[in-house]
Symmetry: C2
Amino acid sequence: MANHYSIAEENYIKAIYHLQQTDDNVTTNEVATELQTKAASVTDMLKKLKQKKILNYEKYQGFRLSSEGKKIALAIVRKHRLWEYFLVEKLQFGWDEVHEVAEELEHIASTKLINKLDAFLGNPKFDPHGDPIPDVNGKLPSRPQINLIDLAENKQAEVSAVGSQSKELLELLKHKKIGIGTQLEIKKKFAFDNSIEIKIIGQAAFNISQQLAQTLFVKPLK
Amino acid sequence: MANHYSIAEENYIKAIYHLQQTDDNVTTNEVATELQTKAASVTDMLKKLKQKKILNYEKYQGFRLSSEGKKIALAIVRKHRLWEYFLVEKLQFGWDEVHEVAEELEHIASTKLINKLDAFLGNPKFDPHGDPIPDVNGKLPSRPQINLIDLAENKQAEVSAVGSQSKELLELLKHKKIGIGTQLEIKKKFAFDNSIEIKIIGQAAFNISQQLAQTLFVKPLK
DNA sequence: ATAATATTTTAGATTTGTCTAAAAATATTT
DNA sequence: AAATATTTTTAGACAAATCTAAAATATTAT
């Protein structure tokens, strides 16, 4: 309850948290790319975070968050996603325009604030991008969801999450009118380029690329 | 639309704005006291703000905000007071516990956010302390209010603002059960120590000090 | 296994905002 | 108006977070 961390530190912790979801060893360069900074700056910060016992780090060896580090990361993720929910549900932001603002809001320290916000929003379990919101103890809710590319042909499903928040992806999804909750089914998978033909309920079928299918997560219906 | 300022700069601008409401010339030491820092640090920042044309400053002469500086200050005040309103009206914070959190929230940059928040809250004109909220153009709403010390004996009035947000004052007000909207009247003024006897509608009369009366603002009833 | 390449770290600078101690300017007192 | 006190500014240092350029380590390719 005592400690708190600078915005720079929090951004590093969050970036490492996200990277270690897919990598078993996070590297200096990966963090540098993620945070749009230089490897030398990352090394400096790693030493600081190691000293604060937030990180298991030995030089040249890669690293992961300690359990303390994970706890901090989950608190930041919780704040980020609750603010995104607030922006979309209460302030009528588009779900594709909340990321930057939430990046700022997530650094507001008060835990009283975030817990009251959580209650005000009705303790939502998933943010507008379909990502799970950690609870007050850092526990993530689970939801049965699979990658769109793994959905069987002619099975209906509902979009439940997107794998990235990049401007480019969100622009494409907007254009295709795909969002969280969109119901669709796979009509055909093409072996040639791994593209798939999908059909949104009530619309004409169209093709999407393998890359796009891989960033979409769905919950099978029924 | 282009510029933005660091948190430190914004805090200086806001402090100077508040000080120049009562002083015609703001001094280095006043700002140092207000921001709990040292005069030397203030001088450094004054030079920077002068260079950015936010301040009319000549060394040893005192200073005031330029019109550009005033615009920035009003934008910060707007954010602060809208967030306070949000915290009290939507998140059920007590009106005496929102100041610190709002001090953090006021530095979130997005103007889109603050304008949408304003709309969500129903474009409130006064914050929970009774202070006026500047509109999108920095214009302050006016309300006929006078200092409690200037209220005539036996005239009823409603508390509309408090002159400070200090912990000490808010603690006292809470204990006396005085808040924005409290209806009261002056029973007697004592020349000896300038204390006054007031009576809250429906309660027994009691005495308050000159200092307290001077920090309370009221709107006469009918 | 050694050379070439890529990654990571170190060394030293820079910027922002702060500080202390001392000097300069202003204000007050006698 | 001189002496004293106060306020303000300067000078120099420091911590946080960043950078560039060079050195150290690790990886890969021949």
